[in-house]
Assembly symmetry: none
Homo-oligomer: 216 residues x 4
């Protein structure tokens, strides 16, 4: 790996800022977390998007949330085929090893992944249909949603509906994992869906009883 | 998804805290990020571990870093087989759509994923060898490292060596992606490796010239 | 302009140092900033003083802060009389074109401009009273502060009070600009005042609620 | 100034990073600079643009350069009319009080101020013609250049020519200041012009003998 370069200066200065403040203030806590291991209360699955950090929105202090971030915060269906499944591995670790009490899937507005899926299904992004497009294949998970929401005339509203569908598709796929299902049945785990409007700073959660997203 | 439950109260309280402070302070910035889109300077790949949030260590302001988190912060090799590849999709999005300038892989001490890989390879975790173990199959990516580091007598030192190997394996796998390689050749992208000691709060970066990890 | 001389050698050497390090490390980022334009999050107004560079104190990465520097970091009151107003033009560009979210006025200790104002008002610098003195006329902006702080016996303390007054006078003058006022009312902009002690390296911010400067 | 808000968190964290590194490493130097005053070798006049920090390009350590930044890095002509002239005050302070040895005017590519001047002169930005437009009135300083460069067909080339003209116009205006002229005649001061290509990272200086900009 001769090609690897030292850390950019801007990250180094940021690191020193953290070391002099957050870390200095919480030295003992970091030491304990290192010595005794983590014991997070919740797993949160959200998007890689730089505009929405659950650590900020939910004020994640160190040791509290086990966070998996991928494009659009999607969970694929259970498929124990021996291949690499990063998301499924993260869910398995959170539920069976860490035994988190809550598992939250957090979607968001203006999601580039969902937009890509929409455009691909609408026939406007043929490059995403190619076998070599990892983004396209990953967004296949959400493909059924395009058909479901195609009746919505306004594109922005249709995209938002698909963003919220993405949360529900992930929650449904989570139920296809035997260890998730049994943890829920044993009342050791609960599932939660939410969606964040980046511009307005609003969070809506999914209400299983009414089947709607509701502002908190 | 009738099974989905409202957001836990502790997350709602955190959210309102964020809304009243960070969001209130930066309303205009959030609005612009929503309207104009993200333009992150770097992608950071790190672990889901609740004890190490790059948003904290690198003071990630909204809109700055595109963050993918999975078990052990691993990148699998390039495999355009049409299946779901969440990590590869995230890398493709960051490099080809967002055109980030830096791609940082950040490993850390006391990594549960690396420990699992170690124990599995040592024959002490047979359940991770099963085809149905997503954790085991995901950690197969790091398997060659066990052999490489088996000469280290002290287990803690061996684990740390494997944690750092995980960073290098991910960087090497990144080079197997054609779009990563060509972005580097076009001087549009640089790769960086780093490792964080949770307890001590130290960050080391990988120096490609000497082939060693060096404290910043 | 035959009189213009080539760049001094010491600047050329510095430039090559930057080219070989910061620029080489961030080639792609500079290219993107050039192609896509700047989108700074904040405007910072500070002094020309060579001892206080906000780029250093706030680790200004390229593209982050729009920086105006003049003597004492002063903002004159709104005066759309058709004359040249460099500071007002900078504020107008930042607020109406770039739409920055934060506008920070940063004063500092041992400010030569403030000292000049103090001495002029005390009758000890008659040359600054002349119509041809640009420094004197510029520092007229701060003149009311001398009267206000004249009760402080210790000169050093009096000067510090005037330096902090300079920040407040600038913030007040900023409010006299209609586009600043309306951006604040639309919650698109917030004003911030701060003061840096050069020798001690301390930064204090102005707390609008208590009306005092407080160390960060 | 009840309206003033505390410093945003992202600036506070940056500050702590600086305090723990740059300041900690140079404590004694900062202390001396505070106690003994500044003694900068050069004054640099450049743009407020967030993409070009002379502190970075010329590696400005604390105490070395007296830096004035305004829109497009312009210097208006000498006009001792008793009004506020921030740029003239800065030049007067640098030349008569600090007695800098070099005065550098640094222009740059993709300059929003120059583009505004161009569009205004081309009749495409009527709002900049209004008396209340501080940007428009400030850019009046460069107005003669539009006519001069109007023969260049390619807009990008025309803008670059105007950006370089801006440097020359400023240098010429500097000569209209009696104290600048006499300092040059006494060989205590030299003037320098330069232009930075943001994307390519190239710096060109103005060669008074050939009347051309030349890469360093």
């Amino acid at each position: 790996m001769q090609i690897a370069r030292p850390l950019p200066q801007y990250l180094i200065q940021r690191y020193h800022g953290w070391k002099a403040t957050t870390h200095a203030e919480n030295k003992a806590w970091y030491r304990r977390l290192a010595d005794e291991g983590q014991r997070p209360r919740a797993m949160i699955i959200s998007c890689c998007d730089s505009r929405i950090h659950v650590t900020s929105i939910f004020g994640a202090d160190e040791g509290e949330f086990f966070i998996h971030r991928n494009i659009a915060g999607l969970v694929p269906p259970y498929a124990p085929d021996g291949d690499y499944h990063g998301t499924s591995a993260a869910v398995e670790y959170a539920v069976t090893v860490l035994k988190v009490a809550n598992l939250v899937v957090l979607g968001h507005s203006k999601c580039g992944g969902v937009k890509g899926c929409h455009d691909m299904c609408a026939g406007n992004a043929p490059q995403l249909e190619e076998k070599t497009s990892f983004i396209g294949r990953w967004m296949d998970i959400l493909r059924p949603s395009y058909q479901r929401q195609s009746g919505i005339a306004d594109e922005e509203a249709r995209l938002e509906a698909m963003e919220k569908d993405a949360v529900l598709v992930s929650l449904e796929n989570l139920l296809s994992f035997p260890f998730v299902k049994s943890a829920i049945e044993a009342e050791e785990l609960s599932l939660h869906g939410a969606w964040n409007d980046i511009g307005a700073g609003i969070v809506e959660y999914f209400d299983g009883e009414t089947g709607r997203f509701v502002p908190v």
